[in-house]
């Protein structure tokens, strides 16, 4: 009979190692499984997510931002948006939560080796690709030109600003940032991130593009890229949907025939393109 294995629903206990406030509404939760054996056995790839459980309140999906080879902690960048995240904001070192995962697909980092990488993000949802940028920076020689295009609503929303400034100074690396609303001494573009495509150098046949942010932004970005000659096979994107189970059973995360939790959250553009641009799918 099918279905003999132990439930994939059951969280494991994790301890908060540190909580780092990144902006007024965004913080990083650094976690460690309380069972050292579980911690040592845990493996993930950038782009995957965990279900994090706040005692007595519930579970939410959060992408992993730490490096897969970091054996000390598992980091999650979290924005305060609801009941669970408001509770997480109050956690201190030593507090316990539940964690299960990792779930979903990762970014195509193997395919991107020896290629140029273009990272395009918008809104505040940059966390899933920051893990990719960090991953590439630590293994810089394996990748070609790195272009980072980040859009934010307001200049104040840009977290990890020092990191972007440091990246911008590195060879073979371009950082372009756009804010819908600027601020005094804002050195970057004011407007949409998708307005920056004309100003980037692009070798379309050796570019792997990774997009993350609002679907309208990704739709426009993907069409600009295909317009510049980047083949569909070179474009990947991260989708966000409601998730309760993370294992393809609860049905909330569906878009067309895809379950975002298990078929994604990182999708090949071709798998999503027919559904892009239709509101409410």
């Amino acid at each position: 009979m099918r279905g003999e294995r132990v439930s994939a629903h059951l969280p494991m206990e994790a301890e908060v190692v540190e909580r780092v406030q990144e902006s007024p509404t965004i913080f990083t939760l650094r976690l460690r499984f309380t069972d050292p054996t579980q911690h040592a056995a845990y493996r993930f790839v950038p782009g995957q997510f965990n279900m994090l459980y706040l005692y007595g309140v519930g579970e939410i999906p959060i992408s992993i931002v730490s490096d897969p080879e970091d054996e000390t902690v598992i980091d999650h960048a979290i924005r305060v948006v609801g009941r669970v995240t408001r509770g997480f904001k109050e956690l201190k070192a030593g507090d316990r939560i539940g964690i299960r995962g990792p779930y979903g697909s990762g970014w195509p980092l193997r395919q991107a080796e020896r290629q140029d990488v273009l990272v395009v993000t918008g809104g505040l949802g940059c966390a899933p690709v920051v893990s990719v940028i960090n991953f590439i920076m630590r293994r810089r020689a394996r990748f070609g030109r790195l272009t980072i295009m980040q859009g934010v609503k307001h200049a104040d929303d840009l977290i990890w600003r020092a990191r972007y400034e440091a990246w911008a100074k590195l060879p073979n690396t371009t950082v372009l940032i756009a804010a819908d609303v600027g601020a005094p001494l804002w050195p970057w573009h004011i407007g949409r991130v998708t307005e920056l495509f004309d100003s980037i150098e692009l070798d379309p046949l050796r570019t792997v593009a990774m997009l993350c942010g609002p679907e309208v932004m990704m739709d426009i970005a993907a069409r600009q890229l295909t317009g510049r000659g980047v083949p569909e096979a070179g474009i990947w994107l991260s989708l966000e949907r409601s998730m309760h189970c993370a294992v393809g059973l609860c049905g909330h995360c569906q878009i067309g025939g895809q379950f975002v939790c298990k078929d994604g959250p990182i999708f090949h553009y071709g798998a999503i393109r027919p559904l892009f641009g239709t509101r409410g799918l």
Partner: protein, 368 residues
């Protein structure tokens, strides 16, 4: 139906089926009239079967009538499918406990269901059971709660000779004859039942019943009634509407049906294949423990597509479109066939009588 394997059980001996199943350790679950509908619940013997009961169904209408026929399975399905027996409407998946220290303990809730014999399962519901098996058991993370309940079922199917006007199982290819995955299958005639076994367990039970080989006349009459039952008026405009539906995501009919739809979720509650569920947290008042509970959900609710600050499907048009494009369309991508088994419940139990076959035909046109 291979003649040699089909046996005859006379009407006065139907009680022996209940006795054999009970002595094999099963609680018998059978059809019975309650609150003006046919439901499945515990039935200790054959006396409680709905003798002479028929049902009249139309979009938004359902009536049970009790007549003089000796037959006990002359009704078409009521609102309740088999779903609650395998996919529980509400169950605790796990429990978290916290003592005085910071530590949290996670305790899995074991599902240890009793053995159930489901009696008078229709072909549509049997097909839906297989769809739910695919969803809950065949993926990377098979569901142990569903698996435990599914394992404890003994299925006695009834080849359906009494479809309602809302039924369209013939057009989906799922009925009216139960095709496989039953332990026993019955065909009902006035004087008794033709019985066939579909599994080794079924053979064991069948051997205990006072049967004789069915006569050619009995087999011919049962086949004739089944053929008549297949002559249904309602039909879907094709078995695979995936491409036609996704080519028509902006069809004006979606807006038109949204004007009638109440987004009540009745269709998803009575649908035997709908699998969506929410996971909710129920903490104890003293906060010493918290239950993580799974309960049925519906894609017609506002929260179904809610992500922080945004409801992806914010209106009835998007929600009805999601339900139909999933059920008849993207289900093909996920499970290799349509998610509709033609039971017609969503038509009968829609308070405003929206008919999925009519909407599908309007949206897909005759091209499908």
């Amino acid at each position: 139906m291979k003649g040699a394997d089909v046996l005859w059980l006379s009407r006065q001996d139907i009680g022996s089926l209940f006795a054999a199943l009970s002595s094999a350790g099963y609680r018998c679950i059978g059809p019975q009239v309650r609150d003006g509908t046919i439901v499945y619940d515990t039935l200790e013997n054959a006396d409680g079967l709905p003798r002479g009961v028929t049902s009249t169904q139309a979009p938004g209408e359902y009536r049970v009538t009790i007549g003089n026929s000796p037959r006990t399975f002359s009704w078409a399905n009521g609102p309740q499918a088999l779903k609650p027996f395998t996919f529980s409407p509400r169950e605790t998946l796990w429990r978290a406990e916290r003592g005085d220290d910071a530590a949290i303990r996670f305790i899995e809730t074991a599902t240890d269901p009793e053995l159930l014999a489901l009696i008078a399962v229709r072909a549509c519901d049997l097909a839906a059971l297989l769809l739910q098996d695919q969803h809950f058991l065949d993926g990377q993370y098979p569901d142990p709660h569903y698996a435990a309940r599914r394992r404890s079922l003994f299925v006695v199917a009834v080849h359906c000779s009494a479809p309602a006007a809302t039924c369209f199982c013939a057009s989906t290819g799922d009925g009216p004859r139960a095709q496989s995955d039953f332990d026993l299958a019955l065909s009902e005639l006035d004087e008794g039942f033709l019985v066939e076994a579909g599994s080794a367990r079924g053979v064991t039970v069948l051997k205990q019943l006072p049967t004789r080989p069915a006569s050619t006349a009995e087999r011919d009459l049962a086949a004739h009634e089944l053929k008549q039952a297949a002559a249904q008026q309602r039909r879907l405009p094709g078995k695979n509407l995936r491409d036609a539906l996704f080519a028509n995501l902006e069809h004006p009919r979606w807006e038109q049906v949204a004007g009638r739809c109440l987004a009540c979720g009745n269709c998803t509650a009575v649908c035997p294949s709908c699998f969506c569920h929410a996971e909710v947290e129920v903490p104890r008042l003293d906060a010493a423990a918290s239950e993580h509970v799974r309960e049925w959900d519906s894609c017609f609710t506002q929260l179904h597509s809610y992500i922080h600050g945004l409801t992806v499907r914010s209106d009835r048009r998007a929600r009805y479109r999601q339900w139909v494009t999933h059920k008849l369309g993207s289900w093909h991508d996920q499970y290799g066939r349509s998610g509709c088994v033609g039971c017609g419940r969503c038509i009968t139990w829609c308070p405003v009588g929206i008919d999925i076959t009519e909407e599908a035909a309007a949206i897909c046109g005759e091209s499908a």
